[in-house]
Every structure is written in C-alpha cells, then in structure tokens.
Amino acid sequence: MNISLSTYYGGLTLKNPIVIGSSNIVTDVENLEKLEEAGAGAIVYKSLFEEQIEIESLQMDQMNESYSNWDAEHTTFFPSAQHAGPTEQRLTQIFSSFGACITLSYPNFFTNAGTTSFLYFSCNLGVYLSVLII
C-alpha cells in the first residue's frame, strides 16, 4: 500500500515532511546527495549572512589595496574587481546538482537588499541566500 507522505512547505511540494535542518552535514555536495538518497524531503542549507559577504569584501579590498600608493609608477598592483560572495562556488555546485531550490526569506537580507555585493550575489545565482533544497 502506498501511503503518500507528501506535503507542502513554503509553496513547494515535498515528498515527505522530513526536513533536514541546517547543520554541518549539509555543507558539502556529497552529503547532500546522500541525504537525498536516504529520503530527505527537504534540506535547509546553512544560512549565509550578509555580514559574511561584507567582511570578506572588505578583506578583499584591503588585500588588493595593501600595496597601493607607495610609488609613483605602481600606484596599484591589482586590478579593481568586485567580490563575488563567500560561498558562491559551493552554492553553484549545489544548484547544478539539485533541481529545485527555494529561498527562505531572512528579514536581514531583504532589509539590506540594496547593497551592491548582495545584489551581485543574488543576480549571479538567481537565488537568495538562505535556501531550501528539495
């Protein structure tokens, strides 16, 4: 007998109501695949905080400018560039492996959504920062 455990969450259909909470096991793609195989209905990916992006961005700027304005010929050493976000790489990997992802809104992000790095981050990925993977 087939019992459907499917349910709805955040506007999405989940195959069952077992949702893996945000924890260290969700941070790499291999684990995510295992969780999916084991039947998880959804996975809450670890939250990414805007502050994280901000601090990394600041660090990158400081890093790139650490040798600037010392000498008439080399006023800078590195081309100016826009920081991409802290874990875009990892998220990109995840999104290419899993079909549906939705974002859970964190007020923090939406109140600060106008900042450049955040926007850049979100356009690049087409998603917002806290994600539910199903």
Binding site: E50, E51, E54, I55, E56, S57, L58, M60, M63, N64, E65, S66, Y67, S68, N69, W70, D71, A72, E73, H74, T75, T76, F77, F78, P79, S80, A81, Q82, H83, A84, E88, Q89, T92, T115, T116, S117, F118
Partner: protein, 1069 residues
Amino acid sequence: MESRSWINTDGNSAVANVAYGFSEVAAIYPITPSSDMGERADAWSAEGRKNIFNEKVDVVQMQSEAGAAGALHGALAAGAMSTTFTASQGLMLMVPNMFKIAGEMIPAVIHVSARSLACQALSIFGDHSDVMATRGTGFAMLASSNVQEAQDMAVIAHLATLESKIPFLHFFDGFRTSHSIQKIIPIRYEDMKGMLDMKFVEEFRAQALKPEAPICKVGAQNPDVYFQGRETVNKYYEACPAIVKKYMKMFAEKTGRQYKLYEYIGAPDAEKIIVAIGSSTETIEETINYLLKKGEKVGMLKLRLYRPFSVPDFLKEIPKTVKKIAVLDRTKEPGSIGEPLYLDVVAALSNERQGIRIIGGRYGLSSKEFTPAMVKAVYDHLENNGWHNFTVGINDDVTHKSISVKEEIDTEQKGIVRCKFWGYGSDGTVSANKNAIKIIGESTDLFVQGYFQYDSNKSGGWTISHLRFGKEKIQSEYLLNKVDFVALHRYQYIGQYDILEGISDGGTFLINSSQKPENIFRQFTQSMQNTIREKKIKVFAIDASKIAKGVGLGGRISSVMQTAFFKVSGVLPEADAIALIKKFVQKQFARKGPEIVEMNWKAIDATVAAVTSIPIPEETDKFAEVAKMVPEGSGWFADNIIDPILRLKGDLIPVSHMPLNGAIPTGTKRLEYRGVPGNPATWIEKLPFVSEPNVAEPYLEYPPSCSGCGEVPYIHMVTQMYGDRMIIANATGCTSIYGGTFPLTPYTKDKNGRGPAWANSLFEDNAEFGMGMRLAVDANRRQLKSNVQILIASSIRQELKEALQKSLTLFDEVNNEAKHHADQVKLLLAEEKKISKGDPVLNKIIELQDYFVDKSIWILGGDGWAYDIGFGGLDHVMASNRNVNILVVDTEVYSNTGGQASKSTPRGAVAKFASDGKKLAKKNLGLMMSSYGNAYVASVNMGMDREKTALAFVEAEKHKGPSIIIAYSPCIAHGYEMKLTKKQSEKAAKCGYWPMYRFNPDLRNESQNPFTWDGVDIDTKFEDYLEEEIRYKTLNLTDPEEAIRLTALAVKDNAQRFNDIKHLSETLK
C-alpha cells in the same frame, strides 16, 4: 547647455573614458605615466562595458609599443576604429608606424601622457620631448593643459580625425595632468555620440581592406612617383584646422565649454607675450591675472592645435601691440637654433609681423617646477631684451643660459586653502587624501586639486600630498609653494626635510605624535620653532596610532589623520566637515556592514575629541638637531649632490655639479642613513665549484628594492661571484630603478676599487646592449693580444717579456692566478714606460691593460623584458655564439609599472590586462632557448635550492657561448607577506610549478645528456601554493567558477612542463 554634477578624476581616467567610448579596438602596452589608460580600458572591457556604439571594446595587450602600433595600424587598415595609449620611449617605438598610418591617411587617435625621453638618464616625469620628436610623422597634434581639457580635447581629437582623415596625437603632461586629481564635468557618451556624424564612420568603414572590394594597399613607389604621392595629402592638412574648429564649436554648443585652436589670454594691448603649450599655460594664465591687476600689460598665446599649424589662426590672436615674444618649449633639442615651438613661431611671424623680437627658452623638463615667479622672470627677461635660448627653473652656471628667478609670488585665488601632507610609504596617507578631495570635490561647491609625490626608494619612502581647495577653478599647475596647512604623519622627518617650507602666516601645523603636548614643541628644529613663532603658526597634535588601534583599525592611521585634518584645516566648517566624512564613510563602507561603518565613525569621534592644541612656549632651550643625511667626510659628490637630494633640495643643484653622462660613483647607497645592507652571499665560499668568490666584501648593498624582493638575492650572489670583473647590462624595470636611480647606487666596489660596472640602455634592447658590450671587450682583448705578441717579439726587458708570455698562456683564464698576474704585468708595463721612448705598441698595451683578464658580461632584466618586449633581441643573442650571460629575474608580471600581465604570467593569475585571470599558460622560455642546442639554459629557484642555483650561475659563466638563467623571483605583486618568500619558493618547487633544471650543451661534447633535472619530487598540491597569493586569491573571490576552471588548466600546465623537462632529462642524448 548642461548642468550636471562634477566628478573628481585624474587625466588618465578622463581620457581613457573618452577613448573607450569612441573605439572598437585598443592595442595597449604599459608605460608610465600612460599605463592607467590601458588598464582602465582593459578593466572596462573585462566588465563588459559598452562604447558609444553599444559594443564592448576589444582591448589587446601587445609585446611592446612597436607591437601596439602595428596592431593599431592593422586594425585601422582592416576597418576598426582604434586607439592606443603611450608615452616617452614607447611613443618612439610607434614612430615608424605613425609615418605609415598618417601616410595612408587613416583616422586614429593616440593618447599620450607626455613624458621625458631617456637621454643621460630616463625620467618617468613629464615634458614634451617625446611628442615633439614625432612632429614630422604627419599626425595632427592636439594638446591639453588640465584634466577637464584632457577629456574635452580627447573628444575633439576622436571627432576631428574621422572627418579630416588625419590621425591625431592627443597629449597632456605626464603626472601633472595624467595623475593630478581635479574636479571636472564629465562628458556623457550620448553627447559624444550626438556630435559624431555617422557618415564619417561609414566612410572609414568603406576604406577597410576586404576581398569584396579588393585593393592592393601601399606597395613600393619609385623615384618617378614617390614625391608626387607624398604631396597628395596637402589639401587634407590645409582643411584640418577648420575641421577641428568646427568640432570645438559643436562641443561648446553641447557642453558650454568653448575652446580655440590658439587662445590669447591677457591684456588686449600687451607688448610682451609668452607662447606656450600644455599645463604650464594654466600657471601662466594665473600669473597674468595677477600681473594685470598690478597694471602690467602682458599676455599669452596658448596653443592647442600644434600640428597642422594654422598660421592664419595663430596670427589672428596676437594683439597688434605686441613687440616681444618669448616662446617656451618643454623639450630640448641640443644643437638646434631653437626648440620646435620657437622655430614654428618664428616661421609663422616671419612674413606677416616683422619687427617683433622673438626669443625661445626651455622650462619644466622632467616635471621640473614651473611657478608664477618663473613666469614673471620670463616677462622680466623679455622686458630687459634678454637673450634667446634661455632656460628658466634651473641654475646654469656653466653656459649661463638660465635666467634669474626672484622670490615666489602668491598668485593664487583669494580664499584658497593649500594643504601639504608628509606621509610614509604604506601608511595610507595618499589613499586618505584621495578620499578627502573626493569628499570635498563631490559634496561641496569647492574646486579641488590633488597631486602626489613619492620617494624613488621602493620601501619605506616618503610621500608628499599636495592638495588645493578653492572657490574658483584652480589653475595652479605646480607644487604647493605657499601652504596654509601642513600635516606631518611621521615625526621622524623633523630635521631631515624642510617640513614647514612655505607655510603662510597664521597657518596650521598638525603632527602625529605620541608625546605629551607640552613636550612636542621642544622636538622641532630651531628653524621650525622660529617659523612657528614668527608666523604665528597654530600647532595641533594627535596620537593617531593609539586611536586607530583603540577602535580596531590597526596600523591604518590615515582615517584618523584625515579627520584631524578636517577638524583643524578650516577647509570646511568643522561640523560640516565631520558630517561629510561620516556620510562618506557610510557610503564607502555601507556594503561592508554596519560594524565597519561604526568602527570608522568611532575613530572619527575619538579623533575629534583627541586633537590637541600645542602650547607654544615663549622660550625654550631644547630643539631637535638638523639631521645628517650623509656621513661627514664622504667627499664632494656626497656633500654637493647626495646631501641636497636627500633633503629634497635637489632643484638647487647647479648645472656645473651634474655629471656629463649621468654616471655616478658606485658605493654611494651606503652613504644614506637608512635601509638594510642586505645579505651578501657569503655561503657560496663553501661551495667547491665556486672558484673566485669575494665574500669578504659585498658588491651590492642597501638595495632600495621592496623589502623581501625576490630578485635581489640573485644579484647579491652573482656580484659576489664575479663582481670584480663584471659588466652589467640592465634592462629598464625594477632592477634598473633600484640599481641606478640618481644619485645613489647599491652597486659598490672592493678594497681594490673594483666592482660591477653597470649601465642601462632601454627596456627593449637589453640583450643587444649586453651583446655589444661583449663585442667591445672581445675587440679590445684581440687588439691587446696582437700588440702583446708584437711587443714580445721586440727588444724589451726579459722580465717583462716572460711576464707577457705568461699573460698569453693565461689569456683565457679568469682565476685568481690570472688576476694576480695581470696586476703584476701592469706594474712591469708602468716601469717599461718610464724607460721606453714612447713606443706606440707599449702605449697601446697600457691603454688596454685592463683587458688581460676577460670580463664577465651579465645581461639583467625582468620577464617583461625577456618574455615580451626584449624577446626578439634576447632570442637573437641566444642564437649567437658570443659569451654573454642572461639573468632573467622572473616575477611573472611587469612589476615596476604596477603589475601588468606578461607572457610569463601563469594561467589563472590575476594581473592588470588580465583582470579576469590570465587565460593562457606561461611561456616556457627555458625550453625554447634549449632548442638552439648551443646555449646554456637553467631554471633556478634560490628559495628552494641555493646550491643548485649557484651551480647554474657558475656553469653559465663558464660556458663559452650565450647562457640564460631564469630565476624564480617572489614579488609584492604576487601579494603575500614577503617574509614568507622562502616557504613560498619551496612550495613553488614542490608542487611542480617551478621546475628546476640545467641544460648544459658542453655536456653533449662529452656524450652526456645535456639536461640535468634539479627538481624535487612533487609532494604539495598546487592549490597550497595558490592560496597564499593575492594574484590567485582575487579570482577566487571575484569569479570562483573561472578560478576553478583556470586552476585545473594550470595544474595541467605544470604537469606538462614538469613532465616534458623531466622526460628530456632522462632521455635526451
């Protein structure tokens, strides 16, 4: 008319913006001070920014300016609107092609930040010697005098070239305009497009080479027709000035800024006028306005369109009352009747306006200051019917061509605030000042100007920022000589430099000091104390380090000093200023989070509270001594040249004190009280294969390179091995700047007075330059040998005969025996001369006696030279059979010009001109050179294995043909703590990134494999090497996917290079 917000920008950025807009292709190559233009264009292209045709510009870095000019020519011929940016010797490399482009009448624009040409020495600073040397090419030449004009003339040039068919060279003064930050009204792309008649774009496109409309463009012409062919262009040149005028008029209608080809400024009834071009015309105008108020009848004719020179337009501007003209040229043509502009003016006036006395003079070479007092001196010189061919701004006590300049006059606008900041290398002062003028320029109605000076020492040097704030447009295109506010960010400068020079009455002095307020005044020199008392200077202090640390900003004192400046300088009312900085900080750091904003705000508040007014005691018997800059008794050169230059008073050195050929004595760097001597390679003494080391004394000391520089250890070592018989040909770059910037050189000599002799020709020709040295040494040695043979056959003393015979047997030896014997022979020759009756053979031998022992020729340079601009020459020299040694200190990037990619830059590294990561693998120069078979090749890594490195140097030197050593050289452009260089060098070897090997063709003669693998086994991941370095980290942070892709490819590159060479070392016979 437009009314839009002003922006703060420098000349290079303003011009690059216009050039980008109008171009489809840009072929670029870095050279100071033009590099920023190419860098901007490249960065915009990488970001996908669109030009006015709504397309991305294809920006291509070439191997040299000659290459850039060739690519420019090709792109133009095949129908793409193209541009390039250059200066100085770079422009000289474009000259051959400029004749071609102009000869073929192809529209194009070259933007030049005009810079001195290398003559007795190079100079990165500004004058017109480069652009004036191109005036015969057929390019139109359009000049600008400030940042606003540089932007606007760039627009005019791009528009006029398309209609006139004449290519344009647009120039503005290097550093003075290219690097000066000023407030300008930016031009909109839509306005640029609005002024462009697409008909001319279509015409341009129609002449493109294409098989659909085949032509054979530009073959050879013979004496029968070449001359006539050359004359076909005349009517275009005649039409050109009217076309430029047309666009100037159109530009005025669009923007409200009206320009003229030639513009008269001054009294309508002037009798004395100056004719000039470039940024000096701003200073002249400012001085004229001052003199007019004093009732003087003076004026100036300012040139913008220099070629084609329109005589009617020029004459029209000269008032009928003019009786005397001084023409000022910012260049020198030795042996000429006068400099180019002077000759043009004489010719222009010769038929029309006789009876005017015209004299020519030179000023401002290599950004030499040109001040209102000098302008006044020129008018006085005219008044007194002074001589032609004068100079102003220097003291020529040899040929007495210089005119005397009286005290500085303050011609600047009422209410101007002039601020000077003494900073220290990496303390952030310059960055903070760039922020300050941005705040004020973009948030208030004030006009701003920022100009920055830097020490030539690459580490720990001074910086001086010159900032002006005024209610009207600022025309003072000279350093601050009257100062209202002085900030000293580093108290150690007291006693070394004239900190308060030019401070005005009632001015303000802010010092960063951790001393108690009551102790601060006592630490000034007596002259500073007198100045403070006499001029009633207000003195304030702040302990910037303490505040910065306290709020978590670490060692970055600049934002603290910036706030203190706003508080006490009076540029803006304090409350407004502080509110502005806070707003700015919020804007600047908003995306970095509220904590960072908060942290900076805290620093601002803490600073406002902590700025302390320093009491000026009525009397004090305590003061700081004036510091000694060189040790006493160091000799004439030290006292008369080095001392004033180190005190920043080199402008006062007279012509008579200057060496004729730019040369300086070696062993001079030690005279400066700073730096560290460095580490002589004493360890090489213990190596069995090093036969002639002199480890007792260094041949290189106190190199003013960046601290931790990875090039220096190689130079230490090679000089220690061969310093007493070594000639170095040095390519332009870091090695030539820290190796030979006047008046100090780190190269030195031993107790016998011997040491490396060093010279720098150019960037592009160094291998050939060194080869020429080899040829000279060989020629001299041949001549010596043949004369010795003749002398031996004649009747000379037996002792001398035997000694000379021994010299011939030792002729090819370079060991200590040969050296000692050569010294003995010299003594015998001197004795023989006393008794000989002027034997010409003996005299010839004495003339050549320094050549008994062969010289060791070393050709030194970086990867920009070896892999790119100098590769053709290097390749040719390596394919010869001459005994030269090439040392490539490979930093994998153009270090000296600020980190542009070379063909040595590895895949995945971020560099300028490769801002989204270098896409292709590093060129395998070693493998290429080994293919000649006759040349010695080594790839070394001193941080990994210094003994194998030393062995490679010894083998290279011994090899009787050409040798090349490619040396892994850590550089700050890699972006990591330079104290970690050893560790990082080891990683480079252990991850297989930097293979270590030697290819010795001499082994082939012994039927052995010429390849020897010196590398270590791979036991480290490439990623472990990358993660330390900003050049790789940046891409991870900006484009992680691309970083992953390129890293994977780079790992393959490494494996392939490693395996290829390892394979050769195992299999080659």
